[in-house]
Symmetry: C2
Subunit: 203 residues, 2 copies
DNA sequence: TCGATTCCATAACAATCAGTATATATGCGT
DNA sequence: ACGCATATATACTGATTGTTATGGAATCGA
């Protein structure tokens, strides 16, 4: 294996920052969806030409997967933080309040890239959908495990199943994403969160 | 105003049934989204040629709005039934179980056309999105009014706000649509519903 | 049977799609 | 200074997008 350290750099050096360009691409995919984002949109926002894009990222699909990596790493960091909260209720609250922040930030597109990409369902986007669904499943698995721990902690009532509670919480989060992507205000999303927390099961 | 009764029918009669063709078009939009559905897809499924489509429906956008009308009238009929349930809890349960039926029927595409169309966010689809959002708002208004009545009936706790409860229930419904559109099984959706009902506020 | 009228079918339209071929520019080691 | 390797810029590819013009076919009232 080769280190990622600065290699000798044989040929002509590229004139743009790959990470920065990827971040711009993420913004376009987030705002317009996978199919809605054209290569012209992408190269425009990234400030590079098409051959440069293909050389650096492969093709549109590969670019999207890398943008999804970045999205998970940066914009979904709060989900990993949420799992560390001491109570199941705290976990849920951190998830939902983090979702509000991520989905209504004024410097980012509205809504959730995962939900947008899973809902956009052209035929060519099947591999995109599969990737998003797989990532969601793995993220749900972590939450299920966290709720199992909560039950062992006596933090959740006996009659609550971690799998069901996870599906339920994810439904709320996805619903919030749909609403924020449809122009819902932060105040409206907060009402959803307050209502959810009001009903959260107590041990 | 002219009656819709069979006019003398001046020229050559059309060789296809408009309602049937519209129903086929709805299926395509439902399965592939507004932007994902091409005119070729549509004419293929409808069994007509492009000029016939344009003559009968105007253009792609007008066709979509009419398909949305049909969707509301046929596939969302359960929501009007739900509002008639005697208790707020019954209303919510009817909404959610109706959503399961509508979103996992084996003879229809999975998921909810409204959610799919609101999430698909190309630039050209702005008018589509606006239509879907407006219809959702009007449907939410009816549910808010129903929950207000429930409060007057002493059917909901005092501290529950009809607006918040509506946003919350819609979030769950939209989340279920996202999940069913992403391959969730009926059993998984039923877990969401059971969990939601378990937490439903009692007066 | 004759317009008049409306429909269907084929083919074309300009625009856009994702992706690439070609040519030129820039850096390295030698 | 030379070749090698890589990046950039322009222009192009074939396919597909939504939409429409054209020509023939079908049904009407007269």
């Amino acid at each position: 294996m080769e280190s990622t350290a600065p290699l000798p750099a044989k040929g002509r050096p590229r004139e743009f920052c790959v990470d920065e360009a990827l971040s711009k691409a993420l913004g376009v995919f987030w705002a317009k969806g996978y199919e809605g984002a054209s290569m012209a949109d992408l190269t425009d926002a990234m400030g590079i030409t098409k051959p440069s894009l293909y050389a650096a990222f492969g093709n549109k699909e590969a670019l999207f997967h890398k943008a999804l990596d970045l999205y998970e790493a940066e914009k979904l960091a709060y989900t990993r933080e949420a799992l560390k909260q001491p109570t199941a209720r705290g976990v849920a609250e951190h998830f939902m309040r983090g979702a509000i922040e991520a989905q209504t930030s004024t410097c980012d597109p509205k809504g959730c890239l995962g939900v947008i990409s899973a809902a956009a369902c052209g035929a060519e986007a099947e591999s995109i959908k599969a990737d998003v669904i797989a990532r969601r499943a793995s993220s749900q698995e972590a939450l299920i495990e966290r709720f199992r721990q909560a039950k062992r902690d006596g933090d959740l009532p006996d009659h609550v199943e971690p799998e069901s509670l996870t599906l339920y919480l994810y439904a709320i989060l996805q619903g919030m994403a749909v609403q924020s992507g449809s122009g819902a205000s932060r105040a409206e999303l907060e009402r959803v969160v307050e209502t959810s927390l009001m009903m959260w099961p107590t041990a």
